[in-house]
């Protein structure tokens, strides 16, 4: 009985390999942009922010390539079972990754606004939120690489903390704005950034849910309550 000898159709095997490579490349790029955008805030680095904004096209390009590849595989290879689940997963997470790329750009834009305004130390929780959001995304992508539904499930359980953190930051900043109206502009900026980071966390969740489907074959989306509305 043959054990994972790969598909009889070598070209198909090659296509699937390419697909995985591209997805990982896209994930890695998105992670990098997010890290850069967050650094642009803490280091008030306008140049870095602009770098993130101008390189979004790269991520969009990858999305188009992956979509095209998936369509081709669907049309030509009639994938079934695990292969089919891989393709449908790829199609979905590519959307989430591309949105995260857009969110990185948004964060970078806010970073530039902050850099051009007088310095205001960001709440420490914001750094924690940023780290957590990036971690969530990173873990979701690791779960994809490992094909592990357990790792993906961990991402799902980590979202509660992320949402709680966001709520805390929101209230802090609200308090700050009510105290001193001079902070309103900058605080609003920081609120935006926190919102964006919370959205990154949501996207990481989506990716994790799709990984679980890909591995187990059961669709767990919308089947449990999410916390935090913001």
């Amino acid at each position: 009985m043959p054990q994972s000898q790969g598909h009889t159709d070598r070209a198909f095997e090659q296509d699937l390999h390419t697909l995985r490579q591209k997805l990982l490349a896209m994930g890695g790029t998105v992670e990098e942009r997010l890290a850069q955008a967050v650094r642009a805030i803490t280091e008030r680095d306008e140049a870095l922010a602009r770098h993130v904004e101008s390189h979004d096209a790269e991520i969009d390009r990858l999305e188009l390539e992956i979509d095209e590849l998936c369509r081709r595989i669907l049309a030509l290879r009639q994938p079934a079972a695990s292969d089919l689940r891989l393709i449908t997963t790829a199609l979905k997470i590519v959307t989430d990754l591309e949105r995260c790329g857009d969110l990185a750009v948004n964060i970078a834009e806010r970073a530039r606004d902050l850099a051009s305004a007088p310095e205001m130390p960001p709440p420490p929780d914001l750094q924690r939120l940023a780290t957590l959001a990036q971690q969530q995304m990173s873990r979701a992508l690791d779960a994809f690489v490992a094909g592990s539904d357990e790792q993906a499930a961990e991402v799902l359980s980590g979202d509660e903390l992320l949402d709680a953190l966001y709520l805390k930051i929101f209230n802090e900043l609200l308090g700050l704005m009510m105290e001193d109206t001079r902070y309103i502009r900058r605080a609003t900026c920081l609120m935006s950034i926190a919102k964006h980071l919370e959205r990154v966390g949501d996207h990481a969740m989506n990716v994790a849910e799709m990984i679980i489907y890909m591995v187990r074959g059961t669709d767990v989306r919308h089947s449990y309550k999410r916390t935090g509305q913001g």
């Binding site: 043959p2 198909f12 009639q78 994938p79 079934a80 695990s82 689940r85 074959g217 059961t218």
Partner: protein
């Protein structure tokens, strides 16, 4: 090892520990499965996996192969078809068969369809006429041949001949229809017509279809059973079998890693 699939409608045919041997070679090894009433069950698997032998056991056509022996039972509505009291000739009127290559008799279209009825003792011309029309209609062939029923069946195209064979099988009003790769010799359009026919027929008949074309199994069946080397590896709702099969061997076959 074998999952007897018993959800859904009550089973029309049940195999219980069926083993079929040709001489010393085991073609079907201890297979138990249920075939749901008025469902389409597809049997898939690589060449030589025993699916055709299993199909032939259901109407005892294996009896005609010298050296074929069997163990176990097959129940039709609860009665074992291998019992001495049950005449295989009667069984074959209840369980009809359509073959891989269409094999109409070198007779007229009318006589082909009426054949099963005539050997069953029906002589009344009115009854024969009515049954011929009904069967040809059920096989989606009536409109094409109504004006030339007395012409030779061999003048029809390949796809039409296969539908004629289906009509011929339906004329005796079986309860179960066994189809052994019925469209493998046909072009895509003729194949599509046969598949559509299967869709219509399943409201009235229990259908078991052997196919080596997985996409066809996916299109046409409600339940799919995967055979490998004489064993029943897995059986389940077709959608699940093709999106998330439980057995590793099924997964490998369905994704094209072997076979």
């Amino acid at each position: 090892m074998t999952s007897a699939f018993t959800e859904g409608p009550r089973p029309k045919l049940q195999a219980k520990g069926l083993t079929v041997r040709y001489g010393r070679k085991t073609a079907v090894d201890d297979v138990s499965l249920d075939l749901g009433d008025r469902q389409v069950t597809a049997l898939i698997g690589p060449s030589g996996c025993g699916k055709s032998t299993f199909l032939r056991a259901l109407n005892r056509m294996n009896d005609l192969i010298p050296g074929a022996t069997h163990e176990g039972a097959v129940l039709l509505d609860g009665q074992n078809i291998f019992e001495r009291e049950l005449d295989p000739v009667d069984l074959r009127r209840r369980v009809g068969m359509v073959f891989q290559r269409s094999n109409p008799f070198p007779k007229s279209i009318y006589e082909n369809v009426a054949y099963g009825l005539r050997v069953g003792g029906v002589r009344d011309r009115a009854v024969l006429d009515r049954q011929v029309e009904r069967s040809l209609t059920a096989a989606a062939l009536w409109d094409e041949v109504r004006d030339r029923l007395d012409e030779s069946a061999l003048a029809l195209s390949g796809g039409q001949q296969q539908r004629l064979c289906i009509a011929r099988a339906l004329a005796v009003e079986p309860e179960v229809l066994l189809m052994d790769e019925p469209a493998s010799a046909l072009d895509p359009i003729a194949t599509a017509k046969i598949e559509e026919l299967v869709h219509e027929l399943k409201t009235r008949y229990t259908i078991v279809i052997v196919t080596h074309n997985m996409q066809q199994a996916a299109r046409v069946s409600d339940v799919t059973a995967f055979f490998y080397m004489g064993e029943l590896v897995e059986i389940g709702p077709t959608e699940r079998m093709f999106t998330a099969p439980r057995e590793r061997r099924t997964e490998d076959y369905v994704t094209g890693k072997f076979g």
